[in-house]
């Protein structure tokens, strides 16, 4: 009933409707910081469990002598992650490789939600009375920031683990600008501290914004393409052209988007490893 009730009147309303998450407390203001995006939570959780289930099954049945083709495919991903981690991260921590694997596969799965027809899940959800649904969790800034800030925080912890708390703090205020004399060192403390804060902050922000921006824009383009066919007013040349345009443009964008989906997940994974690697390296 809500689907009927909230059917978009025009293109602007359609887009705006699609840009809103399903909030736990709809009564609150859409930008209220205490709210929770239920769609992001549930979809990311289900996809996370899909990742854990698939990889867990393969790990449980992993055979050394007679791997199945699917096991080999999973091993391909593992090797990709492991090779990069071994090349970039020279610390002792055994956490970075599983972290990178989780980031890569989870982000690929969440990004891949973009391939579902843009209105499919929201329409189905609407039939069950769910008013709003954003199907791509990585297009939600909360998801991106949650991962990027976790990664940056973890890189700080790895740095402390590798250099000790004192060593980490000393480095925080003596790098990137080095000085020889004690006086110069003291003078440079605020400069270095500020630089480090900016560095860590920009790492977290850029990591999140790159992913979310790409996925958000990709989703938006799918919506715009979906608008082409939405102006259907009967079998007239304009409508037919629009529908045709939707099919052609939608296919083209989906194919191009495959690249973006994999590439963004790969970049996120690589930067995760790089940040962890930088944290444990001596400056």
């Amino acid at each position: 009933m809500s689907a009927e009730h909230h059917a978009p009147a025009n293109a602007t309303e359609y887009i705006q409707h699609h840009l809103l998450n399903l909030r736990a407390n709809p009564a609150l203001d859409p930008v209220d910081p205490s709210n929770i995006h239920l769609d992001t939570f549930w979809i990311s959780l289900v996809l996370g469990f899909v990742f854990l289930f698939v990889f867990g099954m393969v790990a449980r049945r992993a055979s050394v002598d007679k791997p199945s083709k699917f096991q080999l495919f999973i091993e391909l991903i593992i090797e990709l992650v492991d090779t990069n981690v071994k090349e970039i991260f020279h610390g002792k921590s055994k956490l970075v490789a599983p972290l990178a694997l989780t980031v890569f596969v989870w982000v690929v799965l969440m990004n891949a939600m973009d391939f579902l027809p843009v209105d499919l899940l929201p329409k189905i959800a609407a039939m069950f009375g769910v008013e709003y649904l954003k199907v791509v969790p990585t297009a939600d800034i909360n998801q991106g920031l949650a991962m990027s800030l976790s990664v940056v925080l973890l890189s700080v912890l790895l740095g402390i683990q590798a250099k000790g708390l004192v060593g980490f703090v000393v480095e925080f205020f003596t790098a990137p600008f080095h000085a020889d004399g004690l006086l110069m060192k003291i003078i440079l403390i605020p400069v270095n501290g500020a630089m480090q804060c900016i560095e860590y902050g920009s790492r977290g922000l850029s990591l999140a914004l790159r992913l979310v921006g790409n996925m958000f824009a990709g989703e938006l383009v799918f919506m715009l393409i979906a608008l082409l066919g939405m102006g259907w007013t009967g079998a007239n040349p304009g409508s037919i052209l629009g529908a045709l345009g939707q099919v052609v443009a939608g296919s083209a964008w989906a194919i191009f988007h495959i690249l973006i989906v994999i590439l963004q997940a790969y970049i996120f994974m690589m930067l995760t490893i790089v940040y962890c690697g930088l944290a444990v390296e001596e400056h």
Binding site: F55, I78, P98, L149
Partner: protein, 156 residues
């Protein structure tokens, strides 16, 4: 693009996923890969060793074959030598035996001749005595001239 409490919720989900992957998924999969890599390198090493062993065995077999051939030809040579030796020995023995037989026959013949001569001598002396007896019947007493006759007999 509104930031809210979802940030923490998603961070929590992320942490759980990473934790489970770290504890339960990464180690067995990595162990499988490491084990396979180890088996492959072991297999290659074993193949190399087997190849080396095969070369050694082939060399040893060739050596053994060569030795056996040498031994066989040596045995054959010895056997041939022995055979000619046996034949020679047999020839020698036969010659010796023949000589012995010939010598025996000769001595037999000599004996016979001697015996015949002895007999003839007896007979001749008897004839001579008989002849002389007849001639000298009247004047010669056999008993008186016995020693003379014996001397005569010995001279014949």
């Amino acid at each position: 693009m509104n930031i809210n409490a979802s940030l923490f919720l998603q961070a929590l989900v992320f942490a759980v996923l990473v934790l489970v992957t770290w504890k339960f998924i990464w180690p067995p999969l990595m162990a499988t890969l490491d084990e396979r890599a180890k088996r492959i390198s072991d297999g290659l090493t074993a193949a190399d060793r087997a190849k080396h062993d095969l070369e050694l065995a082939e060399k040893r077999a060739a050596e053994e074959l060569r030795k056996a051939k040498a031994q066989a030809s040596e045995i054959i040579a010895q056997a041939e030598k022995r055979a000619t030796q046996i034949v020679d020995e047999a020839k020698d023995a036969a010659r010796v035996e023949g000589d012995r037989l010939i010598a025996g026959a000769k001595s037999e013949v000599d004996q016979q001749v001697h015996h015949a001569k002895e007999e003839l001598r007896q007979q001749v002396s008897a004839l001579a005595v008989a002849g002389a007896e007849k001639i000298l019947r009247k004047e010669i007493d056999a008993a008186r001239h016995a020693d003379l006759l014996a001397t005569l007999k010995a001279e014949l």
